[in-house]
């Protein structure tokens, strides 16, 4: 049974446990953490909507524990990623793909949307998208109701009219 656990870091690197994907130059040998893309910030996929950027230092990542020796010596398929935004406490779990790397990227995108919603409320992109969707749904319902009403009226009209005589 796999349980979630924090990534195991050497004790001396404990102070770098937050923001795993920043770059830390320590002492020789230089142990560098995996980096996500080339930037320390996660910018929104939909940059046109200007989502609040996420700082890697504010993120805490968890992978499934019990990975054993890792690397070639293990063949684990549990590629679920759990990502937490420490300042807001929002947690996202992503297992959309079978690739750890992809799940990490997706988790960041999803988390960014949620954090944006959290801090910007009505001004956030997610909020606007939801409002738009609700509006469209209301309009569709209204249209469907109107169409139904028209059909009902037409039916009533046909019932009250005398039936057409058969041609001679």
């Amino acid at each position: 049974m796999n349980t979630l656990g924090s990534t195991s870091l050497p004790a001396s690197l404990g102070r770098f446990s937050r923001g795993l994907w920043g770059l830390w130059l320590w002492k020789k040998p230089v142990f560098l953490f995996p980096r996500m893309g080339m930037r320390a910030q996660v910018t929104g996929k939909t940059d046109a909507h200007n989502l609040l950027p996420l700082n890697e230092r504010d993120l805490e990542e968890q992978f499934v524990k019990g990975h054993g020796p890792g690397g070639q010596a293990t063949n684990k398929t549990s590629n679920c990623v759990v990502l937490k935004h420490i300042p807001s406490g929002i947690v996202v779990k992503c297992h959309q793909t079978r690739s750890v790397d992809q799940n990490r990227k997706l988790a960041r995108e999803i988390l960014q949307g949620k954090v944006d919603l959290f801090y910007r409320g009505e001004d956030s992109h997610l909020h606007k998208v939801r409002k738009e969707a609700e509006k469209k749904k209301r309009e569709r319902k209204k249209k469907a109701k109107e169409t139904l009403e028209k059909k009902r009226l037409l039916k009533e009209l046909m019932l009250t009219e005398p039936s057409p005589k058969a041609p001679l």
Binding site: N2, T7, S8, L9, P10, L13, L20, L23, L25, P29, V30, F31, L32, F33, P34, R35, M36, M38, E61, F63, H67, P69, G70, G71, Q72, A73, T74, N75, K76, T77, S78, N79, C80, C94, H95, Q96, T97, R98, S99, V100, D101, Q102
Partner: protein
């Protein structure tokens, strides 16, 4: 429900190589389900629970994950989580149930999930998987990211200096040693659209699988796949069809020979042990790659290796004791579990021109 008898072809004596067993693996004998296996209802969720419980009873590791991947695969999805709630509750057809049953029976024989479903994802690509070719591990995705980052740094540097040399740096040449299924080579090709890769492996099945994956992904025009055993010596003609390379990247067999016997049945019985066993101290193939690298690399080139966590120290000492190679360890990177896993090695430069460690 179908009745078949089970033939235990999956598990074989340890130490015996897999080669030549592909035919018997694929000619699956009729199988019999254990009694009491009829699932109560036929939704995806119910099937996952049923098979997860059976896997757990039979001691199959990652019982729930295995069950979820197999059911999702038959339903046309990559993961169970990516299925919608309605898909998970929709009724499963008899044919799908039979397919799931067949695949799960292979998993019961400890076949790795990746071989059971015949594919796996790596860096956003879906690659075909067939035994005994080595299955790419999730850690190795980070090796690809390191190469991509280094390439990006170089492009920026040369753009800043505005040298003409920047032109050739836009078209990196990469040598992938021990390419296996082609995971590293093909993900680099797909991300670096101007790059070219020479992918090398000593195994015929690996070469064929890399070729097939390259064709599936329409990347065959920028890759050359060579069957060659690098421990048999340098072969510049075969390895350098386009001249010296910018990057030598490799996930070579690096397991210490004494640790091989402790590997899980999934690995020992189905994957090619030659793609795992690195000999004494796990260094035999690593040493070969480093010995040949100076002849294969451009002066500005870099070597990126995935290794065992005990190797950074061993490699650094070994490079220091072989100054004639002119290589030095620039950096060690950890994997997502915090273990030292990747080495960045380059040709030693004089202190005057040493680049700052600002990657």
């Amino acid at each position: 429900m179908w009745l078949r008898f089970m033939k235990p072809w999956g598990l074989r004596p340890r130490g015996e190589k897999w080669k030549g067993r592909l035919q018997s693996l694929l000619a699956l004998q009729p199988l019999r389900l254990a009694s009491g296996c009829r699932p109560p209802s036929v939704t995806a969720r119910a099937l996952v629970n049923h098979w997860a419980q059976l896997f757990e009873e039979r001691g199959v590791p990652e019982a729930r994950e295995s069950s979820e991947y197999i059911v999702a695969h038959v339903l046309g999805a990559k993961t169970f989580q990516s299925l919608s709630a309605s898909q998970r509750c929709a009724p499963i057809t008899d044919l799908q149930q039979e397919q799931i049953g067949e695949l799960c029976t292979r998993r019961l024989q400890r076949m790795p999930v990746q071989y059971v479903i015949g594919e796996w994802d790596f860096q956003g690509l879906t690659l075909k998987m067939t035994p005994p070719v080595f299955i790419p591990r999730p850690e190795t995705e980070e090796l690809v990211n390191l190469v991509l980052h280094e390439q990006s740094q170089r492009c920026q540097e040369f753009r800043r200096k505005r040298t003409l040399a920047h032109q050739s740096h836009s078209w990196p040449l990469i040598l992938d040693v021990c390419c296996g299924s082609g995971a590293i080579a093909l993900s680099l090709l797909s991300k670096l659209t101007q790059s070219r890769v020479v992918a090398v492996d000593k195994g015929e099945e690996a070469v064929q699988l890399t070729r097939e994956n390259a064709q599936r992904l329409h990347l065959e025009d920028r890759i050359q796949i060579v069957r060659h055993d690098i421990t048999s010596g340098v072969n510049r003609e075969q390895l350098l069809p386009w001249g010296p390379v910018d990057f030598v990247v490799s996930n070579p067999p690096y397991i210490f020979h004494c640790d091989m016997a402790q590997l899980a049945p999934e690995i020992l019985s189905y994957e090619d042990t030659d793609s795992l066993d690195g000999g004494e101290n796990g260094m035999s193939v690593i040493r070969e790659i480093l010995s040949q690298a100076p002849m294969l690399l451009k002066d500005s080139g870099s070597i990126f290796l995935e290794v065992d966590p005990r190797h950074p120290e061993l490699v650094e000492k070994w490079l220091q004791s072989h100054p004639d190679l002119g290589l030095s360890l620039l950096a060690t990177h950890v994997d997502f579990c915090g273990k030292p896993r990747f080495l960045h090695i380059h040709k030693s430069r004089d202190p005057g021109s040493r680049r700052t460690q600002n990657v």
